[in-house]
Point group: D2
């Protein structure tokens, strides 16, 4: 008997990517999808790629909740809290690809998103779903805050060094570069083909909302408050995020210590591929897959660790990780449906 999965906001990019992956999942099936903008239309009319594969019609949110065992929500922030409460009441699992449950500090949520926590009990029963770092906490939970894209790639690049106390948690710089799908499906001047193509620039420099979320994760790993400088840039490619992370190596720590710590930390993690010395993490190699490739580099002249991760922002940074969380909370093999071979070109 397959898990009945429902998707709310199925016509957005994260929703559409959930569909792509779930269609090949051996133990789950999509039973209902919804979309406010395209209610009553077939998903394959919105995305002709899916013709013959998912010709399901977009219904209302409540239809999805009613029919599903697990509800994936890909909604703008602020819209998930009430929905989570409904799912909770109905005894359904809820996996939120939005931001409402990611920050554990209500004050930070208010500061960066301008909203309040509607139900503190609900928040206390939710969990931050980054499996490689917090797997044990996820098991048994029913409300999952699926991390954002930058907030998956950067912490995975830094986790072993930060958790092991091998680098200074002061002065960490995260310089990230993301493909365009991260900005969503709605056209605007900045994503208009002729203005983005052959272009490249930073945006929301040092004030992107993913900053406190990265800090929260690094803080949990290190046991102390961490403040970072985070600068995202927009790449003229569809998918993928490179996060180049800079941290000062602590005294008496060698680069070999660091490499050993990473190898140990990730040795059982299927979705993290630690690259050999000399290799460079490249979004080319993880596209369409749930992998996070990490390369480690030592700037000997300044004794700085440069840890670089590559993820597909729509998979490990969104839909793939959400399904990984579903697999965990339903007791499936964590890799089920997620052994997607990244194309070589």
């Amino acid at each position: 008997m397959k898990i009945k999965a429902g998707i709310i906001g199925a016509t957005g990019y994260a929703g559409a990517e959930l569909v792509r992956i779930l269609l090949s999942h051996p133990d789950a099936e999509i039973v209902a999808i919804s979309s406010v903008s395209f209610e009553g239309q077939k998903l394959s009319d919105v995305y002709p790629s899916y013709k013959g594969l998912c010709d399901m019609e977009c219904k209302k949110q409540e239809d999805v909740v009613a029919q599903s065992d697990v509800i994936f929500a890909a909604l703008p922030h602020g819209l998930s809290q009430e929905l989570a409460a409904q799912c909770d009441k109905a005894g359904k699992a809820f996996i939120d690809l939005g931001a409402d449950f990611r920050l554990q500090s209500e004050q930070e949520y208010k500061e960066w998103y301008g909203c309040d926590f509607l139900d503190h009990d609900l928040h206390s029963r939710s969990v931050y779903g980054l499996p490689e770092l917090f797997r044990e906490n996820i098991k048994g939970k029913r409300i999952i805050a699926n991390p954002g894209c930058y907030t998956t790639g950067a912490p995975l690049a830094l986790a072993p060094a930060v958790k092991g106390g091998l680098v200074s948690t002061e002065g960490i710089i995260v310089d990230s570069k993301s493909g365009v799908t991260g900005a969503g499906r709605k056209p605007n001047q900045g994503n208009h083909y002729p203005e983005l193509n052959e272009g490249f620039h930073a945006y929301k420099v040092a004030n992107h909302r993913h900053t406190p979320e990265i800090e929260q994760t690094l803080g949990k790993l290190s046991g102390k408050k961490v403040t970072i400088t985070f600068v995202p840039h927009l790449l003229p490619v569809n998918r993928g995020i490179i996060s180049s992370c800079y941290a000062r190596i602590n005294d008496d720590v060698t680069f070999e210590d660091i490499r050993n710590a990473y190898e140990q930390f990730y040795k059982d993690e299927f979705f993290v591929r630690l690259l050999p010395d000399g290799a460079n993490a490249d979004i080319h190699n993880i596209k369409y897959s749930n992998f996070c490739d990490i390369s480690l580099h030592h700037d000997k002249r300044t004794n700085t660790l440069v840890a670089i991760s590559a993820i597909d922002n729509m998979v490990k940074g969104a839909a793939g990780q959400a399904i990984q969380n579903m697999n965990i909370i339903f007791g499936l093999d964590e890799k089920a449906g997620l052994i997607i071979v990244p194309p070589a070109f």
Copy 2:
């Protein structure tokens, strides 16, 4: 018990794509791969995308033949005939992604490729593996000439009209546009990023080797000799071919007749998606999949049929179709391992 598949020429683009698809095939497994250029190296060193998924070492051609039930050969033309003979002798199935067995006229083969048929018996026992058009001939065969990329997309766009005698077979024009992977893995000035990017041009105008192969297929369908004008162009994208095919509609034939003929012809073909009126076949919608999308258009002012097909040159135009052929000759579900959802973006 899974079919043992071997790949000769695994480090070329078609070979690498066979690996990608076979890795997820439910009824086949890759047992050996070979490469002249990379013998002794891991495939994942050549294509880091495959790290952890296919770390198999490249062996010699004879090792592949010895260990496999079916041998896929992705070799430059001229190198497959001897290999086919070896496989035949060893009782192995042989699927040739090269050109050696595609043309049934030795004279045409000599004219366009400059080589002879080494063994006429072998040629007579081979079959041209375009399943949607020649499925019944393929069953039971052991030597398969897998069609080229242009030679899959253009015939599928025209087949129902040509077979049904609905259009003139004189004056057919095929204007095709292919992604760059069609030119292979070897770097040259024409495929150097800065010189191809933001560029577009025709090449081998009216003298591309796929011309006689398209004509052979259209000839078989129509029962008469067909000569076409074929002009390929190079698109600055990785994958995909659009073939825009122009044919004069015969007198007393309506466009509705034509649409009906296409619907009838392809009604049971999973991999051919006939688009509704008003839609345009787009490589965006079939990337990484084995689908061939076809849109039909009527130029009323000149009573011309414009039939446009979109395929992924590396899948339906190479590796995917080869696996489809394997499924047929081994009696598997023809779709096994090939229900790949084309990403929406």
Copy 3:
């Protein structure tokens, strides 16, 4: 004393391109620009590329007319006729980059654009500004209908053959591929980066509004009514149009005759570069410039001429040609301000 040039609709792509080229024109200067959407804003706020080079503020249409010797209008169709009348009354030259004056048949204009001719006298005094074909008619005129993009590239590819009666005017097929800027500055789903990137498709198959305009030009050259099949496609590049044109070669005409005719026809045309046999016209080589590269190909097997042109849709297909027309009507060197070297990469 420089010519005073004004641009109406300066913030659209054609308007912005006029600015780019006029800024380096030795004999003209931009005195005023207007924009309905950005009135009161600096052009360099809309296009930061122009910072420090054109920080001029967008005014009203009437300000532009009042201050300029020549008015370039880059407006949606239907809005130019009244403006032309105003300019005419004020004694100003008017160069229309829109479609209102391009078709000489009011019936065709009504059929394809749904509008009437407001003032027949005005229309009778306007001229179709494709200098290489109609230079003598342009001299002395004050109302210029600047051709569209497809309608420049395709006729230039075919003109010598059609005018010389070397090919049949029946069954001509024009398969064009255009960069995205042709669709303008306004974002929409089809031009949204992730949905166009790595995609390619035809659009408005056999019903694009440029069809009658191409036919009008070929009709004038051949002296008889010409009906063509015209299919445009959208290329994932910013600029450039390739038009691949197919025409049956008349009996008793050799390909050498055709080449000679082209060489003769274009021998004094600076902006048309006839490529040698074996070369292929490529948008890569004409980007940002006013050149039209043409390559000629002979399909010997079907005796078909394949004539392929490459232009920059925003330059020779819009702003550059408009300035070429300005140069002609003001008696300047036709090349003034237009000897722009296309970048090698």
Copy 4:
């Protein structure tokens, strides 16, 4: 009387770009070009973009030296020293786009390039040609070391802050992203279209040869030895470099102080465009031009300056700057031939 310019290595990308710009220079003309690989061929056969504009034949190096007043050399490192000596002896100005004269420390040159200084006197009479920082030193010189691409963009982003002592010179991080032309014209696997397209990765992390050159410049400006962390990345675009530079703001320095320092520093520099608060430097806005756009950002939470520059690596990062240096040493207007409007798209 125009300056006679010669180009050695004209068929490489930097050489070809020199041709593009010099063809429109009002006070200089190209009199001779050379190329080892293409001797005897026309430049327009190598770059068909230049057909009709520069059909000059590639000669030998000595022909160029003999005929020119100024010799531009775009050669692999190690080949310029002897050539410089020849030019010097012949009384010709020499502008080296290679690396041989950039580092003033022979030890660093040996360490990073593995070569020695052949003639110390020659080196002592050469000058590092970054006009905005060292203009006064350049005047009157005849041997110019034209800076590299990264080594132009990063120092310009940091110069006012470093020179003014407003930021710490310890812990500076430069995270750069360059278009592909920076890697030159020779095809290789890494620049092969299908493997770079839709990809992005770092390379030569913390060991790129431009590191000591950036440090040399920052050292001169600050008056003390500076060591930085420099990480370049490869962008899937043809042109442009973004350098995102991170530096800790010194105590008692406000961000307003910094902005004021930049405005003061660059107030008379035509080619540096300091963007207003809220804007982001973008390679889209400087393509094909000699501009360097700079945006300044304050990370208040960590009191870090993020200074981001955008240049065209082939213009301000190579050929354009070389011509700017020519203008200076020949006493021309520094902007002559360099007021190139960056296209809006």
